[in-house]
């Protein structure tokens, strides 16, 4: 039977319909209404989308989010690959380093937020005290740059280990014969990395890049617990912005902004994926 694969796919498709498509359909339907508590929903077409696109707060949150995601990727991917290259390849130290790297990944988001809140507390926190030694007056609840950079630091601390683990798995899968051939050809360490290691890590890094890009767009608990989105709106990222609108029971507006938010993630992930996976001919063109 030629169409047998579809039968095998059917349970997954049904499950996805329930878990993803139905909520998505509901959100799109909500985004076309004005809904306030206690009143009958009123169909308004694309008015909520027009309101969202004209809202300076939304544009601010989106720009902040894009800056945050770009910076997080620029730091986490090279750092992750760098740490993976430095890690031991065999012996007892391998297990120990993998366990140590895995610890931040095991800590729940809320706990991360609370722990870092203690670290950054202006009176008792270790970070303000440490920076005060160098004469820097660090204050996460008053200084917008401090708050933004702290959320970025937390994200780097929490999620670089994921990139390390992926890159490490990719490095272990590269056959030694490639390195031996490079050595015979007299390739320098940089050239070996550039022309052997990096191309072989391409698929793993694509995966890491996409996971981290999409995940960085979902940053929520850390700014909520650490800074509450402030000072001002300095750490109000997209998820926090949408959640606040939903909490205020502006469901139509929240629906429209979350659909635009989803749209940005999908489009940027697609562009990123296509850019990384260009064929050699496409890259030359």
């Amino acid at each position: 039977m030629r169409q047998r694969p579809w039968l095998f796919l059917l349970p997954t498709l049904v499950l996805m319909s329930i878990s993803a498509f139905i909520p998505l359909m509901a959100v799109i339907n909500y985004s076309l209404h004005t809904i306030f508590a206690g009143s009958t929903p009123e169909f308004v077409g694309l008015q909520n989308y027009a309101d969202v696109m004209g809202d300076a707060q939304f544009r601010g949150a989106l720009l902040r989010q894009l800056t945050f995601s770009l910076l997080a990727l620029l730091i986490e991917i090279p750092l992750g690959v760098g740490i993976a290259l430095c890690m031991p390849r065999k012996g007892g130290a391998v297990g120990l380093s993998l366990v140590l790297l895995g610890i931040p990944l095991l800590i729940p988001y809320n706990v991360v937020g609370i722990v870092w809140r203690l670290f950054t507390q202006s009176d008792i926190g270790v970070i303000p005290r440490f920076l005060a030694v160098f004469g820097y007056d660090y204050n996460v609840s008053l200084d917008a740059t401090d708050a933004f950079m702290t959320i970025l630091l937390v994200d780097v601390w929490h999620w670089t280990p994921l990139v390390v683990l992926l890159a490490y798995a990719g490095l272990q899968a590269i056959p030694q014969t490639f390195y031996q051939a490079a050595e015979v050809d007299g390739a320098s360490a940089w050239k070996t990395f550039r022309y052997v290691t990096l191309p072989k890590l391409r698929s793993v890094l694509t995966l890491g890049l996409l996971i981290r890009f999409m995940d960085s767009f979902k940053v929520y608990s850390e700014p909520l617990l650490l800074t509450g989105g402030g000072p001002g709106n300095a750490t109000t990222f997209m998820s926090l912005f949408v959640a606040r609108k939903a909490e205020a029971y502006e469901l139509g507006y929240a629906g429209a902004s979350s659909i635009i938010y989803l749209y940005v993630v999908i489009v940027m992930s697609y562009i990123l994926f296509q850019f990384i996976n260009r064929s050699p001919e496409e890259r030359r063109a």
Partner: protein, 98 residues
């Protein structure tokens, strides 16, 4: 039918949403059936990447949404029929030359 309407009232179904999802699901089903019977190779058009029918459909939907959002951001909620015409032209060009 009444039971179905009552059970899914929370989803706030409306004619626009129903039309949108009906066209979307019919298009996806149609493309899937088309692909099962006549598998298409990738082709290179004006887009910077080689694409299949499915790719162009996806890029079409994403582009349509982008164009509508740009229209809403700069012009607002007026003249949306014109925006729809622009989107239709874009999709036809994409399907034929993309």
């Amino acid at each position: 039918m009444e039971w179905l309407i009552n059970e899914f009232r929370w989803m706030q179904w409306n004619w626009a949403g129903t039309l949108f999802f009906s066209i979307l699901f019919l298009s996806i089903t149609g493309l899937t059936v088309w692909d099962v019977f006549t598998l298409e190779n990738r082709r290179k058009g004006f887009l910077p990447i080689a694409t299949t029918r499915g790719d162009r459909f996806f890029i079409g939907i994403m582009g349509s949404m982008g164009l509508t959002l740009i229209w809403l951001a700069f012009i607002g909620n007026q003249g949306l029929w014109l925006a729809l015409a622009v989107v239709a032209v874009y999709n036809v060009v994409l399907a034929l030359r993309g």
